[in-house]
């Protein structure tokens, strides 16, 4: 069996005279091989605005070369509030985009080093996200004491 991601993007009215229909699918595999991914972390979290949070592990919390490839991230902002509510997302202090109510994203994440952490910052008030992180070899942090 396998872990798969499938996307479709459609629009009946984006281009005059023709409809838009994009479809793609991929099987999520371990780094550089064809073996299926077997590790996943998923959850739902309510996030208070005014703080930047890290989502997912650091590169050093992933074994071997798993951080360079074969890490996949899905985030959906499930809030139903107005456009003043959104989540800024970025990597290594580089703000990339905004997830408004109902918006989602899916990327194969290249966590090349600890600086390449996924950062999210809710705006407008409490936003709730649904997320899933897939990786072949993430490990739990060592206990502090």
């Amino acid at each position: 069996m396998a872990t798969t991601a499938t996307i479709s993007i459609s629009s009946p009215d984006l281009m005059p005279g023709s409809s838009l229909s994009i479809a793609a699918n991929t099987t999520l595999t371990k780094a550089g091989v064809t073996a299926d991914l077997t590790q996943m972390e998923t959850g739902v979290i309510s996030l208070v605005s005014g703080t930047e949070y890290r989502l997912g592990p650091l590169a050093t919390e992933m074994a071997d070369d798993a951080h360079d490839i074969a890490s996949y991230l899905y985030i959906c902002n499930t809030t139903t509030e107005d456009a003043t509510y959104y989540i800024d997302w970025g990597i290594n202090e580089t703000m990339i985009g905004r997830l408004y109510a109902g918006d989602w994203m899916f990327i194969p994440w290249n966590a090349s080093d600890d600086a390449a952490e996924i950062e999210i910052e809710p705006q407008g008030g409490t936003n709730t996200i649904e997320y899933a992180f897939f990786n072949s070899d993430f490990i739990l942090p060592t206990a502090a004491a």
């Binding site: 069996m1 396998a2 872990t3 798969t4 991601a5 499938t6 996307i7 479709s8 993007i9 459609s10 629009s11 009946p12 009215d13 984006l14 281009m15 838009l20 994009i22 793609a24 991929t26 999520l28 595999t29 299926d36 991914l37 077997t38 590790q39 996943m40 998923t42 360079d68 490839i69 074969a70 899905y74 959906c76 800024d88 997302w89 970025g90 990597i91 290594n92 580089t94 703000m95 990339i96 985009g97 905004r98 997830l99 408004y100 109902g102 918006d103 989602w104 994203m105 899916f106 990327i107 194969p108 994440w109 290249n110 090349s112 390449a116 649904e130 899933a132 897939f134």
Partner: protein
């Protein structure tokens, strides 16, 4: 104004005893520029795929159409996304920095589309 409907489905029987079957969709208002699915050959040098100055809030679709060669997608100078063979990405972009693309080797084709809200 046009409506764009992106849908993602994640499925797995490997990641737990409870089968994963997640599907999410969105309805996006597109009011400005679009580039419908197009292809470009990459090289090992950075290609400015989307210049920040040319767009505002947008949604970006990328797919590596090659069977073997990986691609790096950077935002400014930050290495952020690696598309292995056949992989895709979809994400909102605030055009805060250029989106750059390059191949790990050779000249594989990147499929791309952008929809400006």
């Amino acid at each position: 104004m046009a409506t764009l409907t992106p849908t993602l489905t994640l499925a797995s029987t490997d990641t737990g005893s409870d089968e994963l079957s997640l599907s999410v969709t969105d309805s996006l208002n597109i009011t400005k520029a679009i580039i419908s699915p197009s292809k470009v050959a990459l090289s090992t040098g950075d290609l400015t795929l989307f210049a920040a100055a040319s767009y505002t809030k947008s949604y970006v679709y990328l797919k590596n159409t090659d069977d073997t060669i990986a691609m790096d997608i950077d935002f400014g100078t930050q290495l952020s996304i690696q598309l292995a063979a056949g992989e895709f990405a979809f994400f909102p972009w605030e055009s805060s920095g250029n989106i750059l693309a390059k191949s790990a080797s050779g000249t594989p084709y990147l499929e791309y589309a952008i929809f400006e809200a």
